[in-house]
């Protein structure tokens, strides 16, 4: 069992380092798109000098938005990286269930987004936004957050400017350069910035 675990850990390491085509500062693992990896024991197929790359490897990806045009690129990139690492029998599969959510973006992923000037989704906010079911009028997320009267709770829920850190920010457009981002502006430093929408 240890051998299998090691094999899968090694394949995971290769696949998880693949960058996202549209947010290249994040890996597919940071983004929560890499949903799983499985390596067959590959009985009799160990032709790689003991690196454990002889068995078939299957990587599962969970697409972000239904219309995300980057899925084919992601699949091809994972395929290529695994082959380059010595795996000869590589399969990339899509896994639609459970659906992707921005809650799956790791803490490391959120840190990298902020570092790149993109406001990350607030952790757990997607689950909260969609907890109330039913076709009633709704408001998904704030259109403006402010530092004024900053209780601990509102500070945690504020959309902070990735440039200057201010919480006094406002939404300019809920739809941006890619399906996953909205356009915001900081009212303190006046810089516009992108924000990953919670879904």
């Amino acid at each position: 069992m240890t051998a299998v675990t090691t094999r899968e850990a090694r394949a995971w390491e290769v696949a998880s380092a693949v960058p996202d085509p549209e947010l290249p500062m994040l890996t597919l693992a940071d983004l929560g798109v890499l949903a799983g990896i499985e390596v067959d024991a590959g009985e009799g197929g160990e032709g790689d000098g003991g690196h454990g790359a002889g068995g078939a490897v299957t990587a599962w990806l969970t697409p972000t938005y239904s219309g995300c045009p980057a899925v084919a690129e992601m699949a091809a990139d994972v395929d290529r990286r695994l082959r380059a690492a010595g795996y000869r029998d590589v399969r990339v599969r899509l896994r639609l269930d459970p659906p992707w959510s921005t809650d799956l973006i790791t803490a490391e992923g959120r840190r990298k987004l902020a570092e790149a000037g993109i406001a990350p989704p607030r952790p757990g906010a997607a689950a909260a936004a969609f907890a109330a079911a039913g076709p009633v009028p709704l408001a998904l997320g704030p259109t403006r957050t402010a530092a004024g009267a900053a209780s601990a709770a509102s500070a945690a829920s504020a959309v902070t400017c990735p440039q200057c850190g201010a919480a006094d920010t406002e939404e300019l457009s809920r739809f941006g350069s890619t399906a996953c981002k909205a356009l915001w502006r900081c009212r303190a430093c006046r810089e516009p910035f992108e924000r990953v929408k919670e879904i």
Partner: protein, 301 residues
């Protein structure tokens, strides 16, 4: 976990794929980003769950997929024509979500009926009478208010339907619905925000918004009128009438608008979009959608 190579290599990965023309999972060549139109259900288990008729499931997926495809086409017509750049980007984003849903649903339809037709076969090579979308999604865009009114009606009803379909026995349809319900929530919110802004704006904007609602409202009833396939393979849309009307009524009340009192657009001898009976607007829409594929059959890029 991070084993990042030099940043130039990271940035070059798209171009590397150009040199490796047979590098894709199916050995397909790709010459530019976004052109690798892989199977949207790549590697997903395509077995039909027991007790579900493949032809019915296919017909049902076609109905929902055609709704999404045709409305996506209408929404992208707003590109270069929207009142502001932000609205153009927003409408195109909504269209992209619907196009993604359409790709999954059409692919599922081609699998479920055993014909093996691909999403492209179904999108580009059927005639207008073979499309199963409701007429609501095919009428011309009209003005911005009409388009917003249509979006409000569609997104409210489709969100409610997807919510119910997330528990469908077909795992593919259930997954599309579970994903789509969140996307439709954003669509509904966008349409709601504009309905409130226009309805509660100036007398003139309210008048235009009301006119848009009045014009689109006769097409609403078809969304709640069950075709036998919907009863056998999916959710009875009549179930959605009450909650959807309640939700729409709440938005219109908030916006200071009136729920239109207009009769529904009649079917033709009992047949409408779900039977392939459409308005005269669908043909020209499909002509534009299909012209390139038909001019160059089988072409890849």
């Amino acid at each position: 976990m991070q084993h990042r190579t030099a940043s130039t290599t990271e940035d070059d990965h798209v171009y590397l794929s150009l040199a490796e023309s047979d590098s894709g999972p199916e050995g397909e060549g790709r010459w530019a980003y976004g052109t690798g139109f892989a199977d949207p259900l790549l590697g997903v288990d395509t077995a039909l769950p027991p007790g579900l008729d493949g032809d019915d499931l296919a017909a049902y997926c076609l109905m929902l997929g055609d709704d999404a495809l045709v409305l996506a086409q209408r929404l992208i017509e707003w590109c270069t024509r929207a009142p502001e750049l932000e609205e153009e980007v927003a409408l195109a984003n909504l269209g992209l979500d619907l196009l993604g849903q359409a790709r999954l649903l059409l692919t599922r339809a081609g699998q479920a009926d055993g014909t093996g037709r691909t999403e492209d076969d179904l999108a580009y090579w059927r005639e207008d009478h073979e499309f199963r979308n409701v007429r609501l999604v095919e009428t011309p865009n009209g003005d911005f208010a009409y388009s917003i009114a249509r979006l409000l009606l569609f997104a409210t009803a489709r969100g409610a339907l997807y919510e119910a379909l997330a528990a469908h026995p077909d795992p593919v349809l259930a997954a599309v619905a579970a994903r789509g319900v969140k996307e439709l929530a954003y669509h509904r919110e966008y349409a709601t925000a504009w309905t409130l802004r226009l309805g509660d704006g100036t007398p003139y904007s309210a008048q235009r918004m009301q006119a848009g609602l009045d014009a689109v409202w006769p097409l609403l009833e078809e969304l709640f009128t069950a075709h036998p396939v919907e009863l056998r393979a999916g959710v009875d849309p009549a179930r959605l009438r009450e909650p959807v009307l309640r939700s729409l009524g709440a938005v219109l009340a908030e916006a200071g608008l009136t729920v239109p009192d207009v009769p529904p657009l009649a079917p033709v001898l009992g047949r409408a979009g779900r039977h392939g009976v459409h308005t005269e607007a669908l043909g020209p829409l499909l002509a534009e959608l299909q012209v390139v594929a038909r001019a160059h059959p089988g072409a890849t890029w």
